[in-house]
Assembly symmetry: D2
Homo-oligomer: 359 residues x 4
């Protein structure tokens, strides 16, 4: 639940640095008897993989996962699932000039102060390459959730000044993969892509917002009071690199609305209790209520810009840094599957927790 | 870390329903040897107490804490600190008409579905009265942090349409307690108070934003990758009743700014490494960097409005509900010490965790 | 799982010192919907209560539990169950002469060295009075296990040189409460009682062994590899005051037996898989196999003897200590319900964990 | 703390089956800045390795560890240490006849019942080959403890009827590695080896006892009440395959001794508080007191005997099983480093926990 382990009953413990031998982890508490669809898992990794389009980093990495345990004849055994994704295309020399220099708004300074030592190559452990392990574990979680009829879909809803205006219910979320930005509005997606491409040309970077919708979540997930479902989702999202904010339901918006305007009214729909609106975002009192769960995640612009920046080295000497290497101008498109992965792990964990509510 | 326990090394396990015998808890992992300033703890509870001003609920509750263990001759012993705050002014009859009726946007429906049973009186466990235990534990955490030179200050920065425009550094945060809203801008505070009073008169409610600043936090707190300091803070804040969002540093704002505009530049200030800006919000790579930590927390309007609302009962029968009882028109003023308490617990927990980084 | 919290999903967090205001705790994760039989709980506390017979301490304590939350109209709600047992008969003056003196083989020295401070009265937190909280939580666990058909019975199987010779299957375990020692062999029980009475007269103390049998445990409890069921039971038992050893199945005995002699042979009994013997003690590979689980727990003699002992004070000055107060000559009879309580909590916790093995 | 994760702050999460691709794990919370002595780690693995003498299994496995992360330029970085030991000499065909047959006193039946699926080859996850991960993590822990002056030594003290009679203080524990049994009495070791060799010839197996001594442990380790140091050690030992019992200090022995005979008396030795005896086994009130910690661990005979045994298959059909494969006649010699490893991990974990006792 801290350091390098995520989750309570379904747990990922991850390891690996950007330029080390591998990124990997151990998935524990995965239910026994789930058929492991390897193609699906690789497809999820491909969605996160660098070099997938003109607006992502040019790095080429195979990012193929090798499972080391816990699966027998294609089925999960209930034993821990060890896995590794081997690092193969590392250009560590790109980082030689940064060995003792602190990149602005990166983790270089804080890691060094905390641990007294740091693998500087490619950002080491603080690299977003670490999220590979999350995508693997999230893909497994999705396989389990699929059996439960739970679907998780994330998409880019803002890039710099370009904002998806309408509510998610107004879009066809099955068409997100049709553009490189992963935005359900194809026209807006084109503008976002152009904008990112332009930013990339400047050697600069830009942030944005990813939205996520969880459909089919049963009533009852959430462990009040400190394990409220949205607190767990927020914790999961805020653990992703570059995330600066999380909101669900009405969130920070609609602050001028009064209680009478925000409450979701119950009614009887053909004998079943139903809700006229879902301003709560599918969670009430920290527990899922069966409606769509939706939330938004804010990402800052990538800190690595390909332009000269003043900074200091470890000894405090002022210097000028110009990053080399291959970097993303905008993390959003590749972060979409990561948001989904963290959501999937959280929901599966809370599904398992909820099984223990009654004898 | 879920259900009713918060924290890793410094841990609060809380209990209690709104109309039960007591709200209380056990604080474990509190460092030995801390002098317990009882007046300070009660003062913190008073900041949260209902009935403190014209814009809060009219309920009168003493909210005095009784410590049951873990303190000997006024000093913490390192043993668990049990405590109780006795419920004394409960009007349970106010809730008789809600026994089987689901209040809109409350936890009534989800608790019933999850647990199959629920103490409906005053919201039971889902009542914000539960936060008393947080304020007690937070006050203890503050006593420890005080010895470390760490100060935590929260304040109301938005109520409905009224927004504190300037950066927190432009205000005197020591003057927050001078108005009933707990806003550092005294003029704006007066407007907010008037507005809340008006909303109260309508039987309605309104939400807003609480901001929080942590000063004096040492470098190095945060346990990457899943225990990033801001993820822990976000988790803590999202566990508070009525919270819908969390952001730190630039958060959801400034999305049009590029990486080159958002990066915090290092320089050498008289031989020490320093930062020209603090857009990161005091945390980089999930680890505190010694700058002020600041974040914002979104609260929705209280769901209990004193007007008729359509709803259903447990059997799905449609009905009209009119809440009785004494309720807050705006939770913000009383939530300020709760935000501080959750922040204090998180920081102390992470301070202790960080002590184990090196041998 | 450490400090003052026991368990994973079903969890007791306890607090309280021997001469403080109360012993109590919070029980979290207790399944919703269990009818709380208050008489049964008090009966369990009575089995542990001092002063129940001529061979226990003469202290008189009511030891009545007051529940503070989590129970509504006599049924568990799934919310945390806070409780307190008020201390009423403390003779703190009995300990004035021990304030700065370290009692031999007690926790006085180690607590002082670890925490720098200690409530010396009655042993403070290290007093066996702490086990009251375990008995309360264990009684609740038993109520849940009863619904599952799981029965836990502990009994005294050795006191000093008096040893129960035969296998537990040779005795009527329903007759344990018929004598003050809680031994199923009534004749041996009488000898044990006489012996304890004699030891008491000498101002001395004696240890022994408690055995425990768990019947009706379903197949599948146990979370390999680090959560083997017997490891959890061992951990639970070793956390009880004065316990020095734990063994299950063949344990330390029968070391001259070879593998071929110790293996439990499967056979087909009327179409069902059955075992000819149960030398494994009901657990194989860390997982319950449906047979009786049985184990033994070694207790050392109580360290408080009513005779003069040389010792030192906090400053290292040598001195002579003669304990006052009312103490047990033999902890075994009153420890029987404590062993059962810890077993019940463990089994319920592992039952809940096992519910999450498959989707 | 359950399933496949061991420890609180220093944590091993392990994975791997006997005949899968690898045994490995992730070590989290290992202090930053420790020089990693690779030769030492391999040497520890060699002590556990099969085929090391005439009295162990004839299997040949290189058992070389490959570290995948967390170490930079030979020093621990505070980031998670992933590692794998590749399986290279698996004869899976040896197990073809056991695919659906339940080996007596193995985990075959319970794993199948719990998980509904099982990798039967070589015992799968329930194989003692899993302990490789423990030895790797334990070797790292030892490197940290070495800096603290803490030494851990285990040795074989009983094999079948052959028992080390005298107290551990009477032997030279540095000479344990001089014989294949790892017993400090060279003459007795020879008899034990002969006996094991004879048992092996019979196709049978034998159990015994491993003792362990921890020297140089500082005062103060242990987290009462549920995290008593000996409870943690007991839990650790009982999690090792084939372990049936744990005792420390006087344990199950000396039951005829009275309190006055078992108490350890304090005295003043040249101005320092000292103890005349150490019957407590270095732990009082669950906290280390600075004396030697010693404990004993009971191992049952290996369940795999190379003789015909009646049993059943998955469908309940009775059959005769004759194990093939290469097996240990006695697990004790190779289990000595495993006991040490579990002790080392526990002590390091509790050392780190104890650092958080005071501010």
């Amino acid at each position: 639940m801290y350091n390098n382990t995520f989750g309570n009953l379904f747990r990922l413990t991850s390891f690996g640095e950007s330029h080390g031998k591998a990124i990997g982890g151990v998935i524990d508490g995965f239910p026994a008897g789930i058929v492991i669809d390897m193609d699906f898992i690789q497809q999820e990794l491909n969605r996160r993989r660098p070099g997938q389009s003109a607006i992502t980093t040019a790095r080429k990495e195979a990012d193929e996962v090798e499972f080391l345990s816990g699966i027998y004849e294609g089925v999960s055994t209930g034993c821990p699932i060890g896995f590794a994704v081997w690092n193969t295309n590392q250009h560590s020399n790109d980082y030689d000039n940064m060995k003792d220099v602190y990149r602005p708004s990166h983790a270089d300074y804080t890691y060094t102060e905390k641990y007294g030592i740091r693998d500087h190559r490619g950002g080491g452990r603080s690299s977003a390459r670490e999220t590979i392990a999350r995508v693997v574990a999230g893909a497994l979680a999705k396989l389990a959730l699929r059996q439960l009829g739970i679907q998780i879909t994330a998409f880019t809803s803002q890039v710099g000044p370009y904002i998806l205006e309408k509510d998610y219910t107004q879009y066809d979320l099955t068409r997100i993969e049709e553009n490189s930005v992963r935005c359900p509005d194809q026209e807006l997606a084109a503008k976002m892509a152009d904008y990112i491409y332009k930013i990339k040309g400047e050697g600069n970077t830009i942030g944005g917002v990813i939205s996520c919708v969880i459909k089919g979540c049963p009533i009852g997930l959430g462990q009040p009071v400190f394990g409220k479902l949205h607190a767990a989702l927020g914790n999961a999202m805020l653990s992703i690199n570059a995330v600066k904010g999380f909101e669900y339901g009405q969130g920070f918006g609609s602050m001028e609305q009064k209680g009478s305007e925000q409450n979701d009214i119950f009614y009887n729909e053909n004998g079943k209790i139903a809700l006229r609106t879902n301003r709560s975002g599918g969670i009430q009192g920290g527990i899922s209520n069966g409606e769509d769960i939706y939330f938004r995640v804010a990402f800052k612009p990538v800190a690595t810009v390909l332009m000269e920046q003043p900074t200091v080295d470890r000894l405090g000497n002022e210097t000028i840094l110009k990053a080399r290497g291959r970097h993303d101008p905008c993390v959003l498109p590749r972060a979409v599957p990561i948001v989904e992965a963290m959501a999937a792990m959280t929901i599966l964990d809370y599904y398992l927790l909820n099984k223990t509510t009654r004898l």
